[in-house]
């Protein structure tokens, strides 16, 4: 079966500065791809390049994005609009980014349905919303639909945003740190509810998170990003239990574990995007680094089935 989303050699950035570099991956129906990497490595930029909405300011510098086999860049504005919400949806970090603070939540649900399905009555929207609210732990359907976003708690508002993204049962959801604004207990709940919802609707997802726990729980596949590149991608078990890339190893050892000592941090800062050249981007922070790494041309190598690594020193993971 053809993948739902094919990202081919995608490079993207802002105002001519390249942030995301040569990203390649496929996402199949029903699959959850988790993206990890330290702050500023280009995770959000990659997701924005896929959605490419007016106001996100992200430029695609090269490469292709195919969704359901169609090249998104060749579609008309109206076709792109119809895909958004109906087939592809976004969950933002903050509910403020999803919901207009001065319109009632019910109206925003209703207009989402009406903009895709024509004349939809409030009662019909209410039934749809109630079904999703139910699965995501929101009772009091009518009170919420009749409220303004600022009248809900942060956790509730974010759940509403999740429900709104799921309203039309999209095939793909892009979630950029969907739970980072919540406190840890609520975070766990929302993650579980999103997973349950995802299962019942068979949605594929791309989930960005700083939290290894969230990614470990939700993802089937994990991609590790560094300096705008995907440096390692593979199924969750492989990445978590047998990481190959030196950066992934460093990242995993930086996750605090109960009962273990302090995590081992990674020295130094990630490179500045304007000065990334060819060669390995992790070069100056890598403990396995050798002379030839500086000029190593980045070609991903498949070390096991569907487990790709972007590192020239085969001897360290072979």
């Amino acid at each position: 079966m053809a993948p739902l989303l094919q990202v081919e050699n995608l490079s993207a950035g802002y105002g001519g500065v390249k942030i995301v570099r040569d990203v390649v991956f496929n996402l199949h129906e029903n699959e959850v791809l988790g993206i990890v990497g330290e702050s500023g490595c280009g995770k959000s930029t990659m997701v924005k390049a896929i959605a490419r909405l007016k106001g996100m300011n992200t430029e695609i510098l090269s490469g292709n994005i195919r969704f359901k086999g169609q090249d998104l860049s060749t579609l008309s504005k109206e076709k792109r609009r119809k895909i958004m919400g109906e087939d592809m949806a976004i969950i933002f970090q903050n509910p403020e980014a999803s919901l207009n603070p001065s319109r009632k939540i019910g109206h925003q649900f209703l207009e989402t349905m009406q903009n895709h399905r024509g004349a939809v009555r409030w009662s019909e929207m209410r039934d749809n919303a109630a079904e999703i609210f139910n699965k995501i732990g929101l009772d009091e359907v009518d009170r919420i639909l009749d409220a303004y976003p600022f009248q809900l708690s942060g956790g509730m508002a974010q759940r509403v945003a999740v429900a709104l993204a799921m309203l039309l049962k999209p095939k793909l959801i892009l979630a950029d740190e969907p739970t980072s604004a919540l406190d840890t207990t609520v975070q766990k709940q929302v993650v579980e509810e999103m997973l349950a919802l995802k299962k019942s609707l068979n949605t594929a997802m791309i989930v960005i998170s700083h939290n290894m726990g969230v990614v470990g729980k939700m993802a089937d596949t994990i991609a590790v990003m560094y300096g705008g590149r995907i440096v390692e991608i593979g199924c969750k078990e492989q990445i978590l239990n047998a990481p190959a890339h030196p950066y992934t190893k460093a990242l995993l050892s930086a996750v605090p574990k109960l009962g273990a000592g302090l995590p081992v941090g990674l020295k130094g800062r990630p490179p500045h995007f304007s000065c990334i050249k060819e060669g390995c981007g992790f070069y100056d922070r890598c403990i396995y680094c050798t002379e030839k790494c500086a000029s190593y041309n980045n070609v991903a190598c498949e070390i096991r089935k569907d487990h790709w690594v972007l590192c020239g020193r085969k001897e360290i993971y072979a």
């Binding site: 959605a51 909405l53 007016k54 106001g55 996100m56 609009r81 119809k82 895909i83 958004m84 919400g85 109906e86 949806a89 976004i90 933002f92 903050n94 403020e96 980014a97 999803s98 919901l99 207009n100 603070p101 001065s102 319109r103 207009e111 989402t112 903009n115 895709h116 303004y148 600022f150 709104l164 993204a165």
Partner: protein, 309 residues
């Protein structure tokens, strides 16, 4: 809600007292005096005795606090006094001029909103395109040119050259059109810029990208989301404009010889006709406060976060 409206209405009382007292005080310290002006109207210079006699007759020789107090007592019983000239009740004079002022205020306000809301939105959507530059250039000119110049140009072209309107058509509703257009040109120049800025501000908000992510049409985003939030700006602008329009517009009214409140008060000031000036001030104060109250009430309608005024 009703409670806070009642509270606001009660606050009118001290404001009104303060404003009328201040006007009274200013008139008392201003140079020139009503009796002299009235006696010199015939072209002769009055003797000091004649002036003193008339001052006593008009009650102007009393201490000014006493004058204010007696004015206040009359005002509370609904009497604003009589004009010094022709003895017409001030109330009658105001009600004579008011319809003309209201007509022009309504006409110019409707014209302004009808032009500047669509153009403000349009220039925001077409930001930095040639038509945005063109319209913004025109609003810049409209802002910089004084209103009497605009009035004279309009008279020259539409009354003298094209003969669509009479040059001096006082009292006839058709005479309201050119002065109203003059005011509308000046106000629209400001409004278009402000509406444009407010729309751009709103379009930059996060929720707009969020709405696009749900596949909401640009038109819906503009008219159902953005415009609702921009209405607050528009109401503020409108309230300020209506307030000053209800006071009459001196320059434009005198150019077009339009018998509104502006003309009335200019004449009264020239003649030191204190009761008329005082009556005018009362009207302006009440009009401003009412307009602001209505504006504040309508804010709550467009911005649900404001629930108390």
């Amino acid at each position: 809600m009703y409670k806070s409206i009642a509270k606001r209405l009660l606050q009118f009382i001290p404001v009104l007292l303060g404003i009328t007292f201040m006007t009274f005080a200013l008139m008392a310290i201003a140079p020139g005096d009503a009796a002299t002006v009235r006696l010199s109207a015939g072209g002769t210079t009055p003797t000091p005795e004649m002036v003193a006699a008339l001052q006593a007759e008009m009650g102007l020789d009393r201490p000014f606090t006493l004058q204010y107090f007696s004015w206040l007592v009359n005002f509370l019983s609904g009497d604003l006094g009589n004009s010094y000239f022709g003895n017409t009740p001030v109330m009658d004079k105001i009600f004579q001029a008011l319809p003309f002022t209201l007509m022009m205020a309504a006409l110019s306000m409707v014209l302004t909103l009808a032009v500047s809301i669509p153009l403000g939105i349009y220039t925001a959507v077409r930001r930095d395109k040639w038509d945005d530059f063109l319209i913004r250039g025109l609003t810049f000119v409209g802002n910089a040119v004084p209103n009497f110049t605009i009035a004279i140009l309009l008279i020259y072209f539409f009354a003298l050259k094209l003969r669509w309107f009479p040059v001096l058509a006082t009292r006839d509703p058709i005479g309201a059109i050119l002065p109203a257009v003059t005011l509308a040109i000046v106000m629209s120049s400001r409004y278009i810029r402000q509406v444009r800025a407010a729309v751009l501000d709103e379009l930059a908000k996060d929720y707009v990208v969020g709405a696009r992510a749900r596949g909401i049409k640009e038109k819906t985003i503009l008219y159902k989301h953005v415009l609702k939030n921009v209405m607050v700006t528009i109401i503020t602008l409108t309230a300020i404009s209506i307030g000053s329009l209800l006071a009459g517009t001196v320059v434009v009214e005198s150019i077009f010889n339009w018998p509104g409140l502006g003309s009335m008060v200019m004449e009264a000031i020239g003649r030191r006709d204190y009761p008329v000036i005082q009556g005018f001030v009362v009207w302006v104060a009440i009009a401003y406060m009412m307009v602001n109250l209505i504006a504040d009430i309508s804010y709550t309608w467009f911005n649900p976060k404001i629930r108390d005024i």
